[in-house]
């Protein structure tokens, strides 16, 4: 039953993305200053929102995991972190492609790109820690705390980098590089794609969560077998 729901959400996400692509490529006009590449913003910006939401879920799940020693919450934390990290990489990749085409350089210290890089490092560290602790309950405690710290850090980082950029202004990635206001059709498109990404995120996190739970069960059975 649950599988069917998951499939339904997945299909919806897929179809939504296709519909968005169609609108993007064939209906919306080219943007004034950036030409056709601006369309990458429709993936760049929603990926940030999705990754942040994922990390928020991971942080809350970790807090619950350490409070109530819940293995389920711990599995959700790692699932949400991994998927969040994937979306962070999407954001980084789209940002870099955009920068290369518009400015001819692969990297620019845009506030969001910088933040994403730091965030990616932070959570990569979390995933590395998980691999290093074999005992599940110790892993839950230690990486749970790390995840809570990581989320706090990621939020503080966001603010700090924003302030840094106001004092050291530089390249900015958005629809508005030419100045002026944003076309409502474009804004709408961003939200549409965000919804599609969100659905995709939910599917991925659920699949990963299931995988983690199965892994846990196998680990347990294996230990039980060895203890005989």
């Amino acid at each position: 039953m649950f599988d069917k729901i998951l499939l339904a959400i997945g299909l919806t996400s897929g179809l939504y993305l296709v519909r968005n692509l169609y609108t993007m490529l064939l209906v919306l006009p080219d943007e004034a200053a950036q030409g056709m590449i601006y369309r990458i913003m429709f993936f760049h910006i929603p990926s940030w929102w999705t990754c942040f939401l994922s990390f928020l879920v991971a942080g809350v799940a970790s807090a619950i995991a350490i409070r109530s020693k819940s293995n389920r919450a711990d599995s959700l934390a790692v699932a949400a972190t991994e998927v969040g990290l994937a979306f962070t990489f999407v954001g980084l990749a789209t940002g870099m492609i955009w920068a290369k085409i518009i400015w001819g350089i692969w990297w620019t210290w845009d506030a969001r790109l910088t933040w994403a890089f730091i965030t990616a490092l932070t959570y990569a560290g979390y995933l590395m820690m998980r691999n290093m602790i074999p005992d599940p309950s110790e892993r839950l405690r230690v990486t749970g705390v790390l995840n809570v710290f990581s989320f706090a850090s990621v939020v503080i980082c966001y603010k700090a980098i924003d302030w840094w950029r106001t004092q050291h202004p530089g390249a900015v990635m958005s629809f508005r590089t030419g100045g002026g206001s944003i076309d409502p059709a474009m804004e709408g498109m961003t939200f549409h794609n965000f919804i599609a990404f969100l659905l995709l995120c939910i599917v991925l996190v659920t699949l990963r969560l299931r995988q983690e739970e199965t892994l846990r069960e196998i680990e347990g059975l294996r230990r039980l077998a060895y203890s005989r």
């Binding site: 730091i118 110790e138 503080i156 700090a160």
Partner: protein, 224 residues
């Protein structure tokens, strides 16, 4: 609890000053890097003034992590950590005592490096000494508190010397950025005002938030 923190602080300081292993290594490392800077950039150029804050705080971050790594290692060799916990020493007292000890050690490194930097690169960093002290205290506390908590997390790992820097550095970036910015301003004799004060508020906020988190969560890390 404060009494126990104090005892642990004294013990850690005594142990480190007895052997001085970490302090010496950290200091030697810092001085070597200071020399390396002179090859990376022209020591006589005006550029140094603009990047001195950045250079110094990268240096202090690296030395700080070297020092902080040792905090819980000291307790490992003879299972002393277990004994402390069994004696009902609160994990937060343990952490506070060690954090203050680490803070002291980091400040000691800074106390040597700042004058040396001033001399080697012909910049008077001490034009606003009280401000400089304040920045050093706030930023070093950031390194000390996060460093100590993460040292507790990584103490049982095989690759602890590697994992501690990997998880620590991304997290102290905002504090380091603030310290760099403020040090640059203060070393040219300008009192931070207006927009600059955002960074002071950031440092204070950073310290408050992470100290609170650390005090609340250290129990979970250390006690099963």
């Amino acid at each position: 609890m404060l009494r126990q923190s104090w005892q642990i602080f004294l013990k850690d300081v005594r142990m480190e000053l007895r052997g001085k292993e970490a302090l010496n290594a950290s200091l030697a490392f810092a001085l070597v890097v200071l020399i390396l800077f002179s090859f990376a950039i022209d020591p006589t150029s005006e550029q140094i003034r603009e990047i001195s804050g950045g250079l110094l705080w990268i240096l202090f971050a690296f030395s700080g992590v070297l020092l902080v790594n040792r905090s819980f290692l000291r307790e490992q060799s003879n299972d002393c950590l277990d004994v402390l916990l069994v004696n009902r020493v609160p994990a937060s007292a343990l952490m506070l005592g060690k954090t203050f000890a680490n803070l002291l050690f980091i400040l000691m490194i800074e106390a040597v490096c700042l004058p040396v930097f001033s001399v080697l690169y012909n910049i008077n960093l001490f034009q606003l000494p009280l401000w400089l002290l304040g920045i050093c205290l706030l930023a070093s506390w950031a390194i000390a508190i996060l460093g100590t908590v993460f040292a507790a997390m990584t103490v049982n790992l095989r690759l602890r010397e590697l994992m501690l820097p990997v998880i620590l550095y991304p997290m102290i970036i905002p504090a380091l950025a603030a310290a760099m910015y403020l040090t640059n301003i203060v070393s040219v004799g300008k009192v931070p005002e207006g927009d600059d004060l955002i960074w002071v508020r950031l440092l204070i906020g950073f310290d408050v938030i992470f100290t609170t988190l650390a005090l609340g969560l250290i129990d979970t890390i250390l006690v099963d």
